[in-house]
């Protein structure tokens, strides 16, 4: 009977050796930890990547040791000055102690639920002692978000490592926002602010425009008045020159000038509305009245 199966013996031996090797040797990649358990009881963790051996009756469990980024749901927090704030954060974490991890949490999904609780309570405690303007302010100096988060990271890391074998590398605020019910009033405020700024722009433009126009008008007046001044001066020069010329000429023969100028005036003074009462004794009419004797 045994003789009959002897020929299968080498194959069976080979198979047994293969199974033995399969159960004994294992590799560990850089991205993972291996936890060796014996009948369900965790014994030790292998962190060195490479080729390893264990007893065939021990079993190995693989854990991803890479950094994960967990995004908790956005939640609403109340700041110290009683303002509501919706904060979306992320937690960068990795498994640090697989033994503790498997004993307390088991899988990453459950771990993230625990992390959510720790981070949430940490954040709400931290925000309860900070005013809104320590997170949001137009000047970077007053914002203490970095210090707050560093403290929160350290606190979360301590709690998670002790309890769950998790290393929390970083807790950061990804997004700050206001609750939906507050947004309408924020929009209204933003609109009012914009309207104020728009009005200011328009008024400033008007101011500048008026200034430019007034300046232009002033310049115009200045230019014209200066020109008037110069022009009158020039005219005066002309008049003076003319007067000088006239007086030089006329003073040589004042009697003739008087005669000539008076006769000239007569032409202008007398027109068709003038009625002249001439005495028959006058120079002009004497000849008419008295004949040739009048010429004397």
């Amino acid at each position: 009977m045994i003789e009959k199966y002897r020929r299968y013996l080498p194959a069976a031996g080979g198979l047994a050796a293969l199974v033995f090797c399969w159960l004994t040797f294992y590799t560990v990649r850089e991205t993972e930890f291996v936890l060796i358990t014996q009948f369900g009881r965790p014994l030790y963790t292998v962190a060195d990547a490479g080729f390893h051996a264990k007893w065939f009756f021990q079993s190995s469990t693989y854990f991803d040791r890479r950094l994960r980024v967990y995004n908790p749901r956005p939640s609403e927090f109340l700041t110290h000055d009683k303002k509501n704030l919706v904060i979306e954060s992320y937690v960068a974490w990795r498994i640090e102690d697989p033994k503790r991890f498997v004993e307390t949490v088991g899988d990453p999904g459950a771990a993230e639920m625990r992390l959510h609780d720790i981070v949430w309570s940490g954040l709400s405690a931290a925000l309860g002692t900070h005013d809104l303007d320590s997170l949001i302010a137009p000047a970077a100096e007053t914002v203490q978000a970095g210090a707050l988060l560093d403290k929160l990271t350290a606190m979360t890391d301590r709690a998670a490592l002790d309890r769950y074998g998790i290393q929390v590398v970083d807790v950061r605020i990804k997004r700050l926002n206001l609750p939906e019910q507050n947004k309408q009033s924020v929009y209204a405020r933003m609109r009012a602010e914009r309207e104020r700024i728009a009005r200011q722009y328009r008024a400033e433009g008007e101011e500048q425009a008026l200034r430019i126009r007034a300046d232009a008008d002033r310049q115009k007046e200045e230019i014209l008045s200066a020109a008037y001044k110069d022009a009158e001066k020039i005219k005066g020069e002309g008049d003076a020159q003319a007067t000088k010329t006239y007086s030089a000429a006329y003073s040589k023969n004042p009697r003739f000038y008087k005669l000539l100028r008076t006769l000239e005036s007569y032409k202008k003074i007398f027109d068709d509305k003038t009625t002249a009462i001439l005495s028959s004794d006058s120079e002009l009419l004497r000849i008419m009245m008295r004949g040739e004797n009048g010429a004397k």
Partner: protein, 316 residues
């Protein structure tokens, strides 16, 4: 007989079969060894792991030898190729026309809400870290950039962000996110963080547009005033020049007239004085000839009384 034949067949065929089998085995072994030769392309770098442990962290392009599969494994990475990531509103969504208000909303330092979308480009700086340190590189990069952006936006006023502050925010956010990624040893190099769009929320967009048009109005009004000034001042200068020219003309005219009049007078006076009696009479009479035809004349006798009724009649 059958058994005999069988053994004969075996004895005849066996030697070549065994030889062929050896050749096959040799060929298989050779082929297996050949899996240890691998090629890294120009844009690539490779990481070699032996039983999962990294033995060659950075293999440069070229042909290389390692231990055959599955002892050594080669992972090639396109190191220089830029990978693109959208932070804020999802790019695909804006194409379709939907918006994700919550995803793209940021709150500014002066507590305004703005919508912001940034595009991140990154490449691999350390192949080993890239492969080994983080479980989801893209997600990590997105989270760090978003954090950096939110932090910068929370310390700026909305006007700065919408106008001049964009470039500074981009640079700061890139540097801050890079610091975080280095801290996580993600093996990633952020090449750019580019804020593609930053807009006020639709609920207040019209008010923001009005500010822009107010700015335009303001500069239009100023330009118009400038135009007025540019019109008025040259005209005034022209007018001034006109006044001066006219005055100069007047001066010249006065002088010339005076000289003319004087010359005429001097000549006439010279002749007059040669026979002043006669010339005086002549001038007097000539003038009377011009004047008297135009006017009404009443001639009264020297001794007689003046009857004024005649004048009244004449006036009527």
């Amino acid at each position: 007989m059958q058994a005999l034949l069988h053994t004969e067949q075996v004895s005849i065929v066996a030697p070549p079969t065994r030889q062929r089998g050896r050749r096959w085995i040799a060929a298989v072994i050779a082929a297996w060894l050949l899996t240890g030769i691998y090629l890294v392309n120009t844009q690539q770098q490779a990481v070699v792991t032996r039983f999962g442990a990294v033995v060659e962290p950075r293999v440069l392009p070229g042909i290389h030898i390692s231990l055959p599969w599955p002892i050594d494994r080669v992972t090639r990475l396109k190191v220089q190729q830029l990978q693109r990531l959208v932070v804020g509103g999802d790019a695909a969504d804006t194409v379709v026309g939907r918006t994700q208000p919550l995803r793209s909303q940021f709150i500014t330092g002066d507590q305004n809400i703005i919508n912001l979308r940034a595009v991140v480009q990154y490449s691999v700086s350390s192949p080993v870290d890239y492969l080994v340190r983080t479980s989801n590189v893209a997600q990590t990069v997105a989270a760090t950039v978003e954090t950096a952006l939110a932090q910068r936006v929370a310390t700026q006023t909305v006007d700065t962000i919408l106008t001049s502050g964009k470039a500074a925010i981009q640079d700061d956010a890139r540097a801050a996110a890079q610091r975080l990624l280095d801290e996580y040893r993600a093996g990633v190099l952020l090449s750019t963080v580019n804020i593609e769009s930053v807009t006020p929320p639709p609920e207040a967009a019209d008010a923001f547009r009005d500010v822009a048009s107010a700015r335009a109005d303001s500069s239009r009004i100023v330009n118009e005033a400038q135009g007025y000034a540019n019109d008025v001042i040259p005209r005034a200068r022209g007018g001034a020049q006109q006044l001066l020219e006219a005055a100069q003309g007047y001066r010249q005219r006065k002088i010339d007239e005076a000289q003319g009049d004087a010359a005429r007078f001097t000549q006439v006076a010279a002749e007059y004085s040669k026979a002043s009696e006669v010339n005086g009479q002549r001038l007097y009479l000539e003038t009377m000839e011009i004047i008297l035809p135009k006017i009404k004349k009443l001639i009264v006798d020297n001794k007689g009384n003046l009857d004024l009724t005649i004048i009244r009649k004449g006036e009527r």
